[in-house]
């Protein structure tokens, strides 16, 4: 799920930037620093939307660096148990398949794949129904349900299932090609 929220961060700035464009510099540095990172608490920071306020800088003794407390608005993404996500398959093997929904990696183990889908090894390993009508392979797009989320300090990993109503392949790369 996506959230729009206000976060805070202490930014350290080199003395060489002290000048007319200090705020601009701080903003670009902030965007560079936080976008794409993941915090266990909030999830992935997708984009900084606005810098709300920049507090008074504090000069560090010895180095001359200045620390600014910066408040900024941003969009974060955090998956939840029970959430339905659409993801792109990245790897298929006998144990199941891996998929990505943006920055989140999801693993769907083979017992969470419908029973009528069989693993086929070969050049392009895939899961296929007995009549061949549905196929999951690399780059397939699937809709899945998150049944477990593990949040580390810098990474979020999910377990998903496609063994439920309305889940499974939503776009087959072969079909469109």
């Amino acid at each position: 799920m996506f959230f729009h929220m206000v976060l805070e961060r202490n930014m350290q700035l080199h003395p060489r930037y002290f000048g007319p464009h200090l705020h601009e510099k701080l903003t670009t540095k902030l965007v560079k620093d936080v976008e794409g990172t993941c915090s266990g608490k909030h999830g992935f920071v997708v984009a900084v939307t606005k810098v709300e306020s920049i507090g008074k800088g504090l000069i560090r003794e010895g180095t001359g660096f200045v620390t600014f407390p910066v408040k900024y608005q941003c969009v974060v993404f955090r998956p939840f148990r029970g959430e339905i996500l659409e993801a792109v398959v990245t790897l298929v093997n006998k144990m199941g398949f891996f998929a990505e929904a943006g920055p989140v990696n999801i693993f769907v183990s083979n017992h969470l794949i419908p029973d009528d889908m069989e693993f086929q090894s070969g050049d392009i390993p895939n899961y296929t129904t007995s009549d061949g009508s549905v196929k999951i392979q690399k780059d397939s797009e699937v809709r899945l349900k998150i049944i477990g989320v593990r949040v580390d300090a810098a990474e979020i990993f999910c377990i998903g299932t496609i063994k439920d109503d309305f889940l499974g392949v939503i776009n087959d790369p072969d079909a469109t090609a």
Binding site: L91, N93, K94, M95, G96, F98, N105, F107, S109, N110, H111, L112, F119, S121, P125, I147, G148, R150, F157, I159, T161, K163, D164
Partner: protein, 476 residues
């Protein structure tokens, strides 16, 4: 027409809300304050009504309004009940009552002089049959799905075991276990090929106890699923029966009022009824004829109890007690006994102004009632003396009030086991055409016993002193 749906509500109430209890009362959690079963009583009562003012419902169920409201709020969340709240002045309430009367018997009720402009928020509630049908089906579906999912291990995180070193992994570690060489997961420490744990179920090597408990759990789940299907069979059958029937639809409070109003007007071209509803609409109350409410409108107020709106309420009571002419009673109408010309016991026990103008049969009943109330008065006097003896240490003033309270509630017929039993008896008789569901009365009486002290919604509960008092009374 509504009967199959009413039965559905009753079955669902007993299946799912039997042990619902409104907690958070600052009463001690004793057997007496245990109000389980109340939810069922409330739902049953609602099947006999359409839209109803919550205060009136509380009165006829002899429940405290707060308690009833809590239960109704719960049912609102459960999507069984729709509620509506609106601000009404005392004048509005009067018009509302007049409209009830108009719809009930097509006669204009005597106009009242003084009007107060105090604004109260009144809440109304009504069963939402169409939604109840969906809610119950959804609930059953979810119950079954949950059990089946557990049986299939659907939402479990897969575990893996290394057969060489017995190291365990969960699916969360999958990223680290992937090997580039083959299709399997490999152990991080010995590079052995991992095996999914469920595949090992047959193999005994990984700990017997674990497997056994898993098997036992499966058995339990299966058993539970089976029992669930067995026990909820009446409900599923009723759902199937109701499936193709149109659900009773009362619409919003306003729409419902308008339609009942129109029906009342069409039924009798008595201009005064039209007047009443017109004036009501002019006031913006939509003129609410509610033919089925108001049977317990009368309050027996003794000693400086709240007398504010007495005028309006007695009027409403007399009005609503009038009997519907038989030609007005249509199939599918949800009427109380009063409107059918029968007598309702709890109203009877209220016995006072309400019974001044009544049909002959009622007068007969009243005679019996008089004898009974004599008996009751006698008993009351006895209990009073007994209570006074026990309460000797308490302050005289408070005590007098307490016993007065108790007396008034006693006169209402619910304060001691003796009269409560009588109530139960009669209610049973009244309920005979109700498909033989006699369950409600017992619980109702039980609750009434518990709540005797607050059964008059206008009386403020006087605190713990009352409680003790009450206990003694029941023992006596």
């Amino acid at each position: 027409m509504t009967e199959p749906f009413n039965r559905l509500v009753k079955l669902a109430a007993r299946a799912f809300y039997d042990d619902f209890t409104t907690k958070g009362d600052n009463q001690p959690k004793t057997g007496r304050s245990d109000n389980r079963g109340m939810a069922v009583v409330v739902l049953d009562a609602l099947t006999r009504r359409q839209w109803v003012r919550e205060e009136d419902l509380a009165k006829s169920l002899k429940l405290h309004t707060k308690q009833l409201r809590r239960t109704l709020r719960f049912f609102e969340e459960e999507k069984l009940v729709t509620r509506d709240h609106r601000k009404e002045t005392a004048k509005g309430a009067k018009i509302f009552s007049a409209a009830i009367a108009a719809a009930a018997d097509g006669q204009q009720v005597g106009k009242e002089g003084d009007e107060k402009t105090k604004i109260h928020t009144h809440s109304y509630c009504c069963l939402d049959y169409a939604q109840i049908y969906d809610v119950v089906r959804y609930r059953l579906h979810r119950m079954k799905k949950k059990l089946k999912d557990e049986l299939d291990n659907r939402n479990t995180i897969q575990e893996y075991i290394c057969p060489n070193c017995n190291r365990r992994y969960s699916a969360f570690d999958a990223m680290q276990l992937v090997s580039m060489e083959d299709e399997y997961f490999h152990c991080e420490s010995c590079n052995g090929e991992l095996v999914a744990e469920s595949d090992k179920l047959a193999a005994e090597e990984m700990g017997d106890g674990d497997d056994n408990s898993r098997r036992r759990r499966r058995e339990k789940l299966k058993d539970m699923l089976q029992r669930m299907e067995e026990q909820l069979k009446p409900l599923t059958l009723q759902l199937a029966r109701v499936k193709d029937l149109p659900a009773p639809e009362f619409g919003t409070l306003q729409a419902w009022e308008a339609s009942v109003n129109a029906a009342g007007r069409g039924g009798n071209n008595n201009g005064s009824a039209t007047d009443a509803s017109k004036s009501a609409q002019g006031q913006g109350y939509g003129g609410t004829p509610m033919p089925y409410i108001g049977e317990t409108k009368v309050e027996v107020t003794i000693f400086g109890a709240d007398v504010k709106d007495e005028g309006a309420e007695t009027e409403a009571a007399t009005a609503s007690l009038k009997v519907l002419p038989p030609w007005m009673i249509k199939q599918g109408m949800n009427l109380t006994k009063e409107q059918r010309g029968e007598l309702r016991p709890d109203a009877k026990v209220d016995g006072s102004e309400a019974y001044r103008d009544q049909s002959d049969e009622k007068k007969q009943e009243q005679k019996q009632e008089d004898v009974k109330s004599l008996e009751e008065e006698y008993l009351t006097a006895y209990y009073e003396a007994y209570a006074r003896m026990l309460e000797a240490s308490k302050t005289a003033q408070g005590e007098a009030e307490v016993s007065q309270q108790s007396t008034s509630s006693y006169l209402n017929g619910v304060s001691d086991t003796n009269s409560a039993r009588q109530v139960g008896m009669k209610v049973k008789r009244e309920d005979d055409d109700d498909g033989g569901i006699e369950w409600e009365e017992d619980v109702a009486t039980g609750i009434l016993n518990e709540l005797s002290i607050v059964n008059d919604p206008n009386a403020q509960p006087d605190g713990s002193g009352d409680e003790d008092d009450d206990i003694d009374w029941e023992e006596g």
